[in-house]
């Protein structure tokens, strides 16, 4: 076990977040069991007070989860010198089989928590707690994701042994290596670009329609989820080539470093923001017609759609600008 202070910090954070969400989830179940919305009894009041605790816990959990995602990647980057052949975070994460799954679950946790907070916000706008069942059902899904992720992260760090020779992004992300990372990089850069721009265009159009006329919410939400995946895949297989100006460097983590102007942070933040806002708007679609939310939800969805479009726009602009402004061409 590498007793690096950062590893201790990450483990502590994961444990804290898991405990908070387990507690919140358990409370959610208790609340649902005794919930009587119309009653003025003291028990009901007590339960309503408890809902504040749940949403506070999830709010903090989200913040810590996002921070720990950043710290995780950064730590993986810092630790790369301990592994022969690792040039950046990608090498560290590949040192044992738990590295990438942990990352994936961390991201999933962030997205789920973000969507939960969107639903919670909508729920508070309605005077009869219309979405409470949906909320706590989602929480029952979120809590295990975070717990499993904490476990995987623990297994990852405890299995790390400094001497392992691990493949760095050069061979990890080169096309001839099997496994997801290799597959993504193996996607032909030209085709991926076209695919990305196509999906982006469709998302923008659907988003504008939804923003202005309120129609096609489900479609927009689905497209924004697809755009998240397409954006990430395009980033790894094509756009990052323009950042690194190398035809074979497909590492998704190096763009977080100073020499690329920390562009990675903006890009990943934009993608995450876009997918949370977009899927959040979609998650609210079924509640559009509910009595107490008639006024609040459509307005909220509009703001979310606007935020999602803005985020994806920022992403598209940055990558396109980079692609057009460097003399490097990926043979597209």
């Amino acid at each position: 076990m590498i007793q690096h202070p950062a590893v201790i910090a990450l483990t502590a954070s994961s444990v804290a977040v898991s405990l908070m969400l387990l507690y919140a989830g358990w409370y959610g179940m208790k609340i649902l069991r005794d919930w009587e919305p119309g009653s003025g009894s003291e028990r009901q009041l007590w339960l309503e007070r408890r809902t504040y605790l749940v949403s506070t816990l999830v709010g903090y959990a989200l913040v810590f989860q996002i921070l720990s995602l950043l710290l995780y990647i950064y730590t993986a980057d810092e630790l790369h010198s301990l592994f022969t052949g690792a040039m950046c975070a990608a090498g560290t994460l590949n040192a044992d089989g738990y590295g990438y799954p942990t990352l994936a679950l961390k991201v999933a946790g962030c997205i789920l928590a973000g969507v939960w907070l969107v639903i919670n916000h909508a729920d508070t706008r309605g005077y009869d707690y219309p979405l409470i069942k949906v909320k706590y059902a989602l929480l029952a899904l979120l809590a295990p994701v975070v717990v499993v992720e904490a476990y995987l992260q623990f297994k990852f760090f405890s299995g790390l042994k400094g001497d392992l020779i691990t493949s760095c992004c050069g061979s990890l992300f080169s096309s001839d290596r099997p496994g997801i990372a290799g597959d993504i990089a193996g996607l032909p850069p030209g085709a991926m670009l076209y695919a990305f721009y196509a999906v982006a265009a469709m998302t923008f159009i659907a988003g504008l329609v939804f923003y202005m006329e309120g129609r096609g919410g489900y479609l927009f939400s689905l497209l924004s989820a697809i755009l998240f995946l397409a954006g990430a895949a395009a980033l790894i297989s094509s756009f990052c080539l323009y950042f690194y100006e190398l035809p074979t460097h497909h590492c998704p983590f190096c763009i977080l470093q100073r020499e690329y102007g920390y562009a990675g942070y903006a890009l990943y933040a934009a993608l995450l923001g876009g997918v949370v806002a977009g899927t959040g708007a979609g998650a609210l679609m079924p509640s559009r017609k509910k009595g107490s939310l008639l006024k609040a939800v459509p307005a909220l969805q509009r703001r979310l759609a606007g935020a999602a479009l803005l985020c994806y726009l920022v992403f598209t602009l940055i990558v396109t600008y980079r692609m057009l402004s460097t003399p490097f061409t990926a043979g597209v």
Binding site: I2, Q3, H4, P5, A6, I8, A9, L10, A12, S13, A16, M20, R49, Y52, L53, T56, L57, Y60, F64, L67, S68, L70, L71, Y74, E78, S81, L82, T84, G85, G162, D163
Partner: protein, 378 residues
Amino acid sequence: MNAPVNRHRNILDFALSSLIRRKAKNLSLLFVYTLIVFVIASLIFFVHALKREAALLLEGAPGIVVQKMMAGRHDLIPVEYAREVEKMRGVRKVTPRYWGYYYDRAFGANYTLMVPEAGRPRPGSVFIGSGVAENQRVKAGDFITFGAHDGLPLLLTVERIFPAESELVAADLVLMDMPDFQSMFGMPEGRATDLAVTVANPRELATVARKVAGRFPDSRPIMKSEILRTYDAIFDWRGGMMVVVLGVALISFIIFAWDKATGLSADERREIGILKSVGWETSDVLLLKFWEGAVISMTAFLAGVLLAYGHVFFFSAALFAHALKGWSVLYPEFRLVPAADGYQLSVLFFLSVLPYTVATIVPAWLAATVDPDAAMRS
């Protein structure tokens, strides 16, 4: 969209006035909090700075050091290996190195004796590190005696003492000329301690190392990266050990913070009851509690970090010296180069602010759910 910002500003204003009104309780909390941050930050800065120093020092180290093994132990290496290694592709230069350890029984210290490649002292003279000088209480011009391998004393003149700034590398170093070295150790002809190999392309290190090991099965090529890695691991272990000990302190802090937060005095309860009765809802009071906690956290964090910075970089971590010294008698006095980056601060944040925040979530919520009509009955 100004309303949310104003809401935060107004509530923050009241949070500040609230904190000032309860000076005793908040000052004691602030003190303990700052202390915790100070200790953890000092540790993190210290270990990080040491690692950086080590890395910087090793920049100048040869890419590969080739040693000969005999029965699993380090043996002297034949110098003709050097010529063969030099011919290998990718190798730029191979230099035989002559160095060894000397245990001075009289002063109970280990010195490293070495013949430098360039800038050798004259025969009969030595350059010594400031640690050696202090240990033996000698200055330039004095004599220094070593016990040679054949039992006879070797008398040498101290020509130069390395400046204090070089202590980290040279505290225990003694540089001498080849004849004196041979008198000391009696190394057989054609043998050296090890070979320093410079490789043209750093990426080829592993390949060259493999070739050397293949050609000379009784040799052990050690790559610079492996040395660096081992250094890092040592610091991590030592650092980790202390962090585990600090864990106990941290848990006490958490309990303390929890206790302070749950201990709502009657006055505080009344105040929150009043706030709720005049129109503050639970989420407003939660925000109030959040800002109170944030102000305390930020103040403690800033103060703790600044104090730790001063402690480590201006006082050389005086408080930790004992714990991290190990067995070395010649512990160098040195000033570390200040180095603190965002990453260290984030780790620090996770180890201090996060536990505090988690400990105060439930107490803050308990405070926020005070009944509004308690104020009517007070």
